[in-house]
Amino acid sequence: MTIQSSLQNQGKVLPAVGKTCPLVIQDLGKQYRRDFWGLRHFTLELDSGIIGLLGPNGAGKSTFMRMLATITKPTEGKITWRGVDIATRPDPLRDVLGYLPQDFGVYPNLSALEFLEYMAAIKGLPAKTARQRIDELLQVVNLVDAARRPLGSYSGGMKQRIGIAQALLNDPQLLIVDEPTAGLDPEERVRFRSLLANLAGNRIILLSTHIVSDVEATAAEIVLINHGSLLVRATPEALLASLDGKVWSWLAPSDRLDALKQSHLVTSTVRRAEGMLVRVVCEDSPHPQAQLIDPTLEDVYLYQVSHNGGRQ
């Protein structure tokens, strides 16, 4: 029995059936070359809350997000925001969209304050509202003291925080953040997670990452994606439950590790004085000394990816 069918049997897969969701993605596909689709047959309905999008590099996460952010047009299928197709009428979504791209730049000669004022103007915020919002945002991203310095002098993490601030300028109903914690120090990462948790009310927050702990800490639902296809969508609890009784740990000799990796899905190893403490996902006990342990989302993620075509 696969994890997917296990989840379905438990009734914990969450296609939001029967409810009108503001964001509906139907049979979405993006073709880059004749023989390569970045994303295909992708169907999803999203309601408010934080949705973690997990997948290995090249899985199609950024392609999906760029289409949602109206930057890229789908090759097939459609995305509707409150019933409006965003390919033909993107502005109703853009009015309420906040987008933090994975790769973005800033104007090096502008200060943080000036850059955010510029983005606020581009987003159509009235000047007074923009000023108040920018003040709040600079506090939220912890850049008040650096607000008047040129962005060209900012570190990578500080630029990332400016990216986060601009995404929140218009109080978005749909917030798309692609690898938002890349380059942030642990303190700022925790701060950002906390901010996301506070923001998740009546808005949809789509958080794409391959840092499982980010999703673990914030997401109410998780969408796993690989090779341009949706693997599973479920709550973290359902995903964790799907691996109940399947995650094992024991102390293995270091020289057995390679052989073990060949035969089992090893999700982590920790060096100990007596050998390697290994963590393995499998249906039955892989070793006489192996003990059942609680699964983590990292176990689920690695299990799903390895059982669905592996990495790109």
Partner: protein, 554 residues
């Protein structure tokens, strides 16, 4: 790994990266068009009222001279972005950590430039071959046809490649300022080349006078024309340094009047000294590239942007510490194992935002316009503003003919680097994912950018307008108004379509030189007594909107 192997791989990777870009296909198309223009007679060489019979000597020499003329301008701008690209892509930082020396890196760039320009030489050599076969005026002699490409055009590309590497190595010359300075250098180069043609020199013993190779071909062509057509005014009949008489002796370039009278060109007898003569320029190019290592900062960002670094030092360090302290107040800790976060008792420190509701501005144009204007005007040194102000005042108070001929053209070339940022800024700084995802990115931003550009052109040229008003010269004022609209429109359209500032810098410099400065009849966008150029400007605005529209959702 040997140094040769390192150079080979560095140069090859750079060459591959460039030739696999869509823009390279466009360049190849333009080079092919150049070949076609020579074939039709729209571009090329004429000796007074004569042209050579289309034999291999004439076709090879003519195509080579047109090629060196074009490559020495456009070739430079084409290749001068390689180190910048390594900086932008981050590859430079990786290269900087390898054992490769600055000299080896710069030589690899020179090689890559040389290869890229060499492709163009090869294309036009092939075009010359086809041209002679199509013209059928004389039998084909492949050696005579191709020798000028190998012995004159290729060394010239070596020099251009070296200049490009040198300009990129010197931080001050790396950007738009370097482009403008090179244009001035180019004008000096072609003028000096034309004036230094050694009409009566012994080719074999003479030193290489010019990198364009005019001195290799023109004297023998002049002699042949004079021998066959005594009415021809050759260079030796012209007083030294008289450009007008030189122009009567030969003309090289575009937009030539078609001539039917021909002379037989026998070409050059290539001896070893003559064959190696122009290659001195190739070696000079290599030396220039190597000399770049004296200035090249090896991708050290702390040496790249002095102003910003200075600002950071001034305001930065202690505030950063303060910010860190503030961040530490957010004392949330991850609960081990569950991956959830637990709030610290100091919950007040949690980041919170006030909901905005539906606060949207129905008319946000003024805000966007002011923001665009600030973007255009930010980041220039103080002396830039002083010089712009000085030109405005000078235009307003000095005599009208000086204003028309010198000051207003100068005032409208001064902000070239300001305008060239228009339309391409979002691509160059990778802000487009955020800007294009904003509501109405096309209609909210492009008109505001355009108007900001118009304000810059109106402000920098305002001294001219005052002078025209005082003199009651309404025709000049009309031309002024048209130019105010035309210049930023050209910048916006070329920026939006090319995604780079260089295309505008290159096109505008040429246009400005032939039109505003030399007062070429149709190209003078300042002195037209009509709103023709305003109309062209509006068409360019439409083109910019179409270009940006294409980029916004792909």
């Amino acid at each position: 790994m040997t140094i040769t192997r390192k150079l080979y791989h560095l140069a090859l990777a750079d060459f591959r990266e460039r030739t696999r870009r869509y823009s390279f296909l466009i360049v190849l198309g333009l080079v092919s068009l150049l070949g076609y223009a020579v074939y039709t007679g729209d571009a090329g060489l004429k000796m007074g009222e004569y042209r050579g019979v289309f034999n291999s000597a004439w076709v090879g020499a003519q195509m080579t001279m047109v090629l060196t003329l074009m490559l020495s301008l456009f070739g430079f701008y084409l290749v001068k972005n390689s180190i910048e690209r390594d900086t932008q892509t981050g590859v430079g930082q990786i290269i900087a950590t390898t054992p490769i020396s600055r000299q080896a890196y710069l030589i690899s760039k020179w090689l890559s430039h040389f290869l890229l320009l060499g492709v163009m030489v090869a294309i036009l050599a092939a075009a010359a071959l086809v041209m002679q076969l199509l013209r059928r005026e004389a039998a084909l002699d492949a050696g005579t046809l191709l020798a000028p490409f190998l012995l004159v055009a290729l060394p010239c590309t070596g020099l251009i490649a070296g200049l490009a590497v040198l300009f990129e190595s010197i931080p001050f010359l790396r950007g738009g300022m370097g482009n403008v300075i090179y244009f001035g250098f180019f004008l000096v180069l072609i003028t000096a080349s034309g004036l230094s043609v050694p009409w009566d020199a012994d080719l074999a013993s003479g030193a290489p006078a010019d990198p364009l190779g005019l001195g290799m071909f023109i004297p023998s062509m002049g002699s042949a024309t004079k021998a066959q057509h005594p009415d021809y005014t050759a260079g030796w009949d012209a007083p030294d340094g008289d450009v007008n008489n030189i122009n009567r002796a030969f003309q090289l370039g575009f937009d030539l009047q078609h001539v039917d009278k021909t002379f037989q060109c026998d070409g050059i007898v290539w001896t070893l000294p003559t064959a190696l003569r122009q290659w001195v320029w190739g070696l000079i190019g290599l030396a220039l590239a190597l000399s770049g290592s004296l200035f090249f900062e090896r991708f050290d960002p702390s040496r790249g942007r002095p102003k910003i670094v200075k600002a950071a030092r001034r305001k930065g360090a202690q505030r950063e510490t303060a910010a860190k302290t503030a961040a530490a107040v957010i004392a949330e800790s991850e609960v081990a194992g569950t991956g959830t976060t637990a709030a610290h008792p100091a919950a007040a420190a949690r980041p919170r935002l006030t909901p905005l509701g539906s606060a949207r501005s129905p008319f946000s144009f003024p805000g966007v316009f002011l923001a665009e204007l600030r973007l255009l005007l930010k980041g220039w040194p103080w002396w830039w503003y002083i010089a712009a102000g000085g030109l405005i005042v000078a235009c307003a108070v000095l005599p009208l003919d000086i204003v028309k001929n010198m000051l207003l053209p100068a005032a409208w070339v001064w902000p070239i680097l300001v305008w060239s940022g228009m339309g391409s800024r979002e691509r160059r700084f990778t802000t487009y994912p955020m800007v294009y995802a904003a509501p109405s990115p096309l209609w909210r931003q492009i008109p505001a950018t355009w108007l900001a550009g118009i304000v810059i052109s109106a402000a920098t040229g305002s001294g001219g307008a005052i002078a025209f008003l005082i003199a009651g010269d309404l025709a000049a004022l009309t031309g002024w108004l048209a130019a105010v609209i035309f210049i930023p429109s050209l910048a916006l359209a070329l920026g939006a379509w090319s995604g780079s500032k260089r295309l505008f810098e290159c096109v505008y410099m040429l246009w400005w030189y032939r039109g505003a400065f030399q007062h070429g009849p149709a190209l003078d966008f300042i002195a037209q007594p009509s709103l023709l150029y305003a109309g062209i400007g509006l068409a360019l605005l439409a083109a910019a909107l179409v270009g940006r529209g294409r980029q916004i959702q792909r």
